[in-house]
């Protein structure tokens, strides 16, 4: 079944501010998820340097043998990326939905400090709902 394995949000300096695991075999521990996020941030930047034409905004999709990684970068440099099973559709739309939830429940939260790890309950609740709805829509087909 096509499904999401995990979701990461990185701030503009490359630090991990949100990580949620939805069912990969082994949950990554905190240090590893931090390292992976920073590594992704750097790889994203380097891929822009290697572009044969101008106007490259970085990696949007990475396809591997056992997973796909979709990445969305907002205009401010915040990156949202999701690890999912190969061939999962509509991940770009899901990332845009997550971005909208981020702007609504995190950025508009007066107690949230910019670039810090996200600890907003409403964000978590709505995110879980959005992922569930997506999963139901996928399985229902």
């Amino acid at each position: 079944m096509a499904a999401i394995c995990s979701l990461y949000i990185i701030n503009k300096s490359g630090g991990l501010i949100f990580y949620k695991d939805y069912g990969s075999m082994v949950r990554m521990d905190t240090n590893d998820s931090l390292r992976v996020a920073s590594l992704w941030h750097s790889m994203h930047a380097i891929s822009q340097q290697l572009s044969p034409t101008t106007g490259c905004t970085g990696i949007e999709l990475l396809e591997a043998d056992t997973f796909d990684l979709h990445c969305f970068q907002s205009l401010t440099g915040t990156k949202f990326f999701v690890v999912c099973e190969p061939g999962t559709q509509n991940m770009e739309a899901l990332l845009k939905v997550v971005y909208e939830l981020y702007t609504d429940y995190v950025l508009k939260n007066p107690f949230y400090e910019m670039e810090m790890p996200i600890r907003c309950e409403l964000f978590d609740i709505n995110l879980t709902q959005a992922i569930q709805k997506d999963r139901v829509a996928l399985l229902g087909r």
Binding site: C5, S6, G23, S24, M25, V26, M28, D32, R35, V36, L39, W40, S42, M43, I46, S47, Q48, Q49, L50, S51, P52, T53, T54, G55, C56, T57, G58, I59, E60, L61, L62, E63, A64, D65, T66, F67, L69, V83
Partner: protein, 172 residues
């Protein structure tokens, strides 16, 4: 009779056949397992950010790190090594392509550690078969060539022609 013309590491000028609009591919790199660039050809590359030495090193470094990342992020494998530990060819999950808004990079590593990289337009489909075919060309024209020293840049006109021809035939 094989003709050993020179195809330098510096790029040959784009072939003047005027099929630029149909050509989907920007460049091709071939690296061996030590990071030596065995072949670099470009067909359409309007932007050169770095000089060639730095470009090759950056490309090799990016691929090394992405492979390490893919092995670590693999959701199906329970036991993963630490990030940055060099992976043997074929060990762990490896990526086969990534796409940005301006290009798509297709990657294949052979069991002997030879890495084939083809940079194409973003709309190109799955090029794993193409890369396998290019690997076969490499085996026939380069690896089986008794006068070729492994680990040195490839200077074989027949190989270059065959690669050019095959790459031009990739449709989007």
């Amino acid at each position: 009779m094989q003709f050993f013309g020179g195809s330098e590491l510096s790029p040959s000028p784009p072939t003047p056949t005027g099929t630029g609009t149909e050509n989907n591919s920007h460049m091709i790199y071939i690296f061996n397992r030590n990071g030596v660039c065995l072949l670099y050809r470009e067909w359409i590359r309007p932007l050169h950010t770095l000089n060639f030495q730095q470009d090759h090193k950056l490309m090799f470094g990016l691929l090394f790190s992405l492979k390490s990342l893919a092995a670590k992020m693999d959701p199906t494998c329970a036991d993963k090594g630490n990030l940055g530990v060099p992976q043997l060819p074929g060990q762990g999950c490896s990526f086969h392509s990534f796409r940005t808004n301006t290009y798509k990079l297709n990657f294949m590593e052979t069991p002997s550690g030879i890495k084939f990289i083809l940079v194409t337009n973003p709309g190109t489909g799955d090029l794993r078969e193409t890369l396998k075919y290019i690997y076969n060309l490499y085996v026939e024209y380069v690896a089986n060539n008794p006068l070729y020293t492994p680990g040195t840049p490839i200077r074989c006109e027949l190989f270059n022609t065959a690669v050019n021809q095959h790459v031009k035939s990739i449709s989007s």
